[in-house]
Symmetry: C2
Subunit: 444 residues, 2 copies
Amino acid sequence: MNAASEALLTDLYELTMAHAYFAQEMTGTAVFEFFVRKLPPHRNFLMAAGLDQVLMYLETFQFAERDLDWLEQTGTFTPSTLDAFRTMRFTGDVHAMPEGTVFFPHEPILRVTAPLPQAQVVETRVMNLLNFQTMVASKACRSVLVAEEKPLIDFGLRRAHGAEAGLLAARAGYLAGFAGTSNVLAGARFGMPTYGTMAHAFVQAHHDEAEAFLHIAQAQPGNVVLLIDTYDTEAAAEKVVVLAPRLKGQGISIHGVRLDSGDLAAHARKVRQILDRGGLTDTKILASGNLDEERVNALVQSEAPIDRFAVGTAMTTSADAPYLDCAYKLQEYAGRPCRKRSEGKATWPGRKQVYRRLGRDGRLAEDIITIEGDNQPGRPLLQPVMQGGRRLTPSPSIQEIRDHARMALAELPDTLRRLEQAAPYDVRIAETLEQLARQADRYT
Amino acid sequence: MNAASEALLTDLYELTMAHAYFAQEMTGTAVFEFFVRKLPPHRNFLMAAGLDQVLMYLETFQFAERDLDWLEQTGTFTPSTLDAFRTMRFTGDVHAMPEGTVFFPHEPILRVTAPLPQAQVVETRVMNLLNFQTMVASKACRSVLVAEEKPLIDFGLRRAHGAEAGLLAARAGYLAGFAGTSNVLAGARFGMPTYGTMAHAFVQAHHDEAEAFLHIAQAQPGNVVLLIDTYDTEAAAEKVVVLAPRLKGQGISIHGVRLDSGDLAAHARKVRQILDRGGLTDTKILASGNLDEERVNALVQSEAPIDRFAVGTAMTTSADAPYLDCAYKLQEYAGRPCRKRSEGKATWPGRKQVYRRLGRDGRLAEDIITIEGDNQPGRPLLQPVMQGGRRLTPSPSIQEIRDHARMALAELPDTLRRLEQAAPYDVRIAETLEQLARQADRYT
């Protein structure tokens, strides 16, 4: 997806609405907020992610000449609208929760304040970016919380929904606490650690499994992780033991073995015994193969001797909840608070702030959603991040985001840390906001 | 995702295995096949899609200098491997089922025949592309089959998993029989029809709903579709009736109204009455809002007066089955058939062909999977599409693919057309292939 076309990555109605706004000279200041209406099943909280990509998109927003040529030939837009598109840049302000912040339904994690056509036109891509990474980070947290410090590695690229999904899922998993990814491009782009082992094809391409182990070990002597389930897992573990002294003679140690099928706990126990008996007590066991947080939890709880887990498809696609019920809604236009009252989809009007109060135990006690300027106890979660289309500070490093996420998870009460659905966390609507909603209703 | 980096969009192990293959001079001819192990829940068949993107990827496969710089600084690869990467192009052959072909588990839809390192390195992206579009096209077919010729429109971009997912989901839906998409970039890139209405924000930004209708109608006089559920659906329908004569005076007719919340069937009936009573008998009703094939089916069966449906998130993310249990497996190396026997994941060896036999009613009767050259009754589904790294024919137009898909759906027996899980379709393994599997087992 090259930058020149990213402005066209939008729903057609954003452009026709902008066209109408220009025609009516409705270019006053609009305030849109992005929030999630309700938690997906099996989620006790969400983790904000994707802000950095949103800010990059807004900073570089621009129609290319060939985009304008295409829009012109649709016959939908007047020359004056096409001229307005040509010079359109994002010149607004953004407030947001930092990536890695834990949040709950109805809490805005991003607020866009900009001339109405700009704030409207960016809707689709802003939602597309925040929905995806937030969804993946929130899913990844669940594995992180049950893995008890055992490293988790993202193996999801092959079943990610396209290129960008693979790249950004790796990022979202890493910021939530994964140790790294198999995705080389994510490593190059985001400076994340990359991990790799070997595929069944490598074993199959050889006449002999032991020979395959020897060859892959010699090719990557610094990181030998042998896949041992192509034919018979325990027989392959025995071959690893036989091979080890020969490799040691070449200065190569076997860092790990990978199990990818069958009863992973049972195989891990047998393989651990075989390796230990063969003196390979330092050789780690990596488990993969359709893992998700439920399976990781079961394996950890079973005390199976597995040292690290590769989680792929389940995290990358957020398989049990592959979308968020999220929205980007107009909350104020030209100084007037707005709300939508569609059945089941009503929203809170105005520019909002979320305050978070911790208990004496340092864990979350209560969040309060209110309007900006109505100070409440606790710390405010939305911060100014962009003004006049420019970032206020350089984007935090991914390590800083990881640190923030780790602290956010540490603040979770035990009930919210578990995989089972918990009683909803207490999010209170401040009386000031209730009043504003009643006032907004009188306008329509 | 620019072309220069697409070669890095891969799992690290593909590159380390290639490194080992080079070191061992294992550059003989490898045959890999892509197939799905089993149907996801709620699917009676799958539809092949994504081939055009795979062939584009293979045709243009190349590491950029900056990719090589990055790989070099990882310290994992020798200068000779980096040189091999530098000159690496895809020079192999590809056989595939045309996009829009219906297929079943264990039937390969793509075969790659190429020097082993090439065939290995492209694995991740080939899977990434085929898994996604095939999954979405297969999901989209279900809505197409129940919509009874009523147009379906893709509204999924905002909750698609990133940019490429939004773009390619629009394509996959269109080839499966959707009428078009809201995605402007998909329209520009693939020549698909684009559709747009208006958002709640547009209504909210106005003081008066009727004024908002007037403004959007004047802005896009050729395609007036008014969103009427922002506050009160039926009240808004009455406003549409009042507005119509005024617009008619300006030469503008109201093409449609959109319902996006509440009980869509009930609202549609009331709104239809209001419109008809107001003389707007030609004004269509479009329904949207968390629709999937089950809801489309229920609305169609209820005979609610809905003329077209917008299906978004459910299709774009294939929400009930957001991945396929797919694999890209080595089936032959240097003339020797291979298979994997991992528990629950055993595969059929060799270069395969799938024959499809129709019954006298012109519907699918039986598929037979066998090895290439073992002719069976029916028509072979895999065709040569690339030789020596070059396409054999220009890619079919998306209209041709749509026609092929429509014929494929017409060949489905009634049981497989329904939304409910049907008894599995009869896919037979030919005796020749059974023999080859026994032979492959003797090798290991």
